[in-house]
Amino acid sequence: MPVVKAKPKPKPEVVPGVRHPSEKYLRTDRLPHIWCSGCGLGIALSSFLYALEELEIDPDSVAVVSGIGCAGRFAGYVRLDSYHTTHGRAIPFATGLKLAKPDLKVVVFSGDGDLFAIGGNHFIHAARRNIDITVLCVNNFNYGMTGGQVGPTTPVGGRTTTTPYGNFEHPFNLVYLAASAGATYVARWTTLHARRLKESIKEALQHPGFNFIEIISPCPTNFGRRNRLGDALDEMRYYAEKAVIRHGADPAEAEVIVGKEFIVGKFVDIRKPTYLELYHKKVEELFGP
């Protein structure tokens, strides 16, 4: 038997003298990243980095917390205080971090399975408490890292490795869930809407309270391939055809159903006291300023 050698990883092309435009916020020594070609995580990451840059946010004043999965690797690429935690626990970790260090802007970046299956309970309670953090969820409709299993957002009929005959479970409508649980800023974009996504992240970063942005993303390697959605560009075309921008829409009507139009935009933008504001108010009432 001939020995089959694994293909060597292509070395990143380094052009002398050329710096990465986002190196202020990016761990360029960690590139290339592990994400598949066509994955939307890169667009989500760059939208976040551009948002930081345009807001001129001091890199020492922001921390990123991720859970486990493809999106969980996000924390590893930002040149910030960044924490890659356990599966589902990014939000409670971020809660502790924020409460211990209130000046810090804390951003949770993770996937749909991490945040809404194993971590679902933490999500609704952090939203209810109005913990002042921003949660960015890349929704690729399946568990990409483990090979493409069904998740809490997999649409009905979706084929995954654990729904070989098609998914029959009811999926979550994430923006409806977030709004119902008390999130004070709720938006949804796809990776096609990179500029709008960046603007939305900027708004969320400046908005006190529990902020949630769903980022619908292609997963050509797993979900896209099994559901014959074509390559990443075909998925982007799909978003261009089916995504309807409607700000202020009722989140209850924002279900994502295969083959049908779906709503993107900003659903909720309200202000109510955050957990820490209420806590400090209580302490002040009791013990004085």
């Binding site: 924390a75 924490y83 626990r89 809660t95 502790g96 211990a100």
Partner: protein
């Protein structure tokens, strides 16, 4: 105050400013005391949605610079072990109190147990070392809580306080010293661009740069190198796991604490910990009244197990008796540490009540009948 409250006061004295927990009997008095006390001292108390979240929040708060703690009992401890593993791997200082009750499962929520001792040792997946202390009185609960915080900072590791329902609910006088030294966190001595966040000093413990301090480090539960970057490599993994164990084992003499009562001439060594040690002492006294040379070894540091102490003491005795409220968890450790050189007896109970001194005496008399 009771043992639960003494732990809360110990935490406040040690400089704890963050406490996250979920309600569970018989830990309630501890969390309730923290809810009252922390706002008074500028700290934060938060009741989380479950123990998974409580432990994760504690790890997060520690990276936010706080001295952080949680408390629970068996069922909650089962949920916490996942993130105790995260704290081990990310070298996060924190303190976890387990007020043990009858188990498995929901077991006996209001009644005593000591059945989580092995879970404390091995509860999270993978091979690791952990520090666990066990108090036998409210005063010692206070004192050991202060020490637990100091050890967690010294070794950058979670420290477990393995107490039980009876010590937790027992009211005794607790003296709180006027001044309690607050253990410092080991901070980087070099500039951010030169700092390798997981490169250990000579004591095998790396300095800790918390969030917002300008170091911008990456922290992961994945196997990582000195940069804190993930490395999927067997050698890097072996090096990391060995260091995490070695940083505790090499310096175990710093915190191996025990108490001996009447062991100088003892022919039978009774070994116990926590509330069971108080009863065991009663048994030893009964034996002495009958002319039996019995002595008590009370373990204060449970993990890493004090092998040397056991080995030395067992050389001079004709038998050992282990008293605990489980069916022989620490018994096996004693057997291992003493190499089975002397006859052993276990005085066990599965949980729900403490032993009687008479039961301990019976164990002592029985072991003496064994031929050595």
């Amino acid at each position: 105050m009771n043992g639960d409250e003494a732990i809360a006061e110990g935490a406040i004295a040690a400089g704890c400013t963050f406490f996250a927990a979920y309600p569970i009997t018989p830990q309630s008095e501890l969390a309730e005391r923290m809810a009252r006390r922390l706002p008074q001292v500028g700290g934060v108390f938060i009741q989380m949605e479950d123990e998974l979240g409580a432990m994760a929040a504690v790890v997060g708060a520690a990276w936010g610079g706080a001295k952080a703690m949680t408390a629970t009992s068996g069922p909650g401890f089962s949920l916490m072990v996942e993130n105790i593993g995260l704290a081990v791997m990310t070298e996060t200082p924190c303190v976890v109190a387990n007020v043990q009750r009858g188990a498995p499962s929901t077991g006996l929520p209001t009644l005593v147990g000591q059945g989580d001792m092995m879970q404390a040792r091995w509860g999270s997946h993978g091979h690791y070392e952990i520090i666990a202390l066990s108090p036998w009185s409210p005063q010692e609960a206070f004192d050991l809580t202060v020490k637990a915080f100091a050890l967690s900072e010294r070794f950058r590791t979670p420290v477990l306080l393995m107490t039980d329902e009876v010590v937790g609910h027992m009211y005794e006088r607790v003296e709180i010293p006027e001044e309690v030294p607050v253990a410092p966190r080991k901070k980087p001595k070099v500039a951010p661009e030169e700092f390798l966040p997981f490169e250990p000093d000579e004591d095998l413990v790396p300095p800790m740069a918390c969030a917002g301090e300008g170091y911008r480090i990456h922290v992961t539960g994945l196997t990582h190198d000195e940069h804190g970057y993930p490395v999927m490599d067997a050698e890097a993994h072996d090096r990391l796991v060995r260091r995490l164990c070695e940083k505790i084992l090499r310096f175990r003499d710093e915190f191996t604490w025990w108490e001996e009562v009447m062991t100088e001439d003892a022919e039978v060594l009774v070994i116990s910990y926590g509330i069971s040690a108080r009863v065991a002492l009663g048994g030893v006294e009964l034996a002495r009244k009958k002319g039996i040379k019995a002595g008590l070894l009370r373990l204060i540091t449970i993990w890493p197990f004090p092998d040397e102490v056991l080995r030395k003491l067992s050389e001079q005795v004709r038998g050992t008796v282990v008293v605990e409220i489980n069916l022989g968890q620490i018994y096996r450790e004693v057997e291992r540490a003493t190499g089975g050189r002397v006859p052993m007896r276990g005085v066990f109970h599965a949980g729900g009540r403490i032993h009687t001194p008479e039961e301990v005496l019976a164990g002592i008399e029985e072991v003496l009948k064994c031929r050595s």
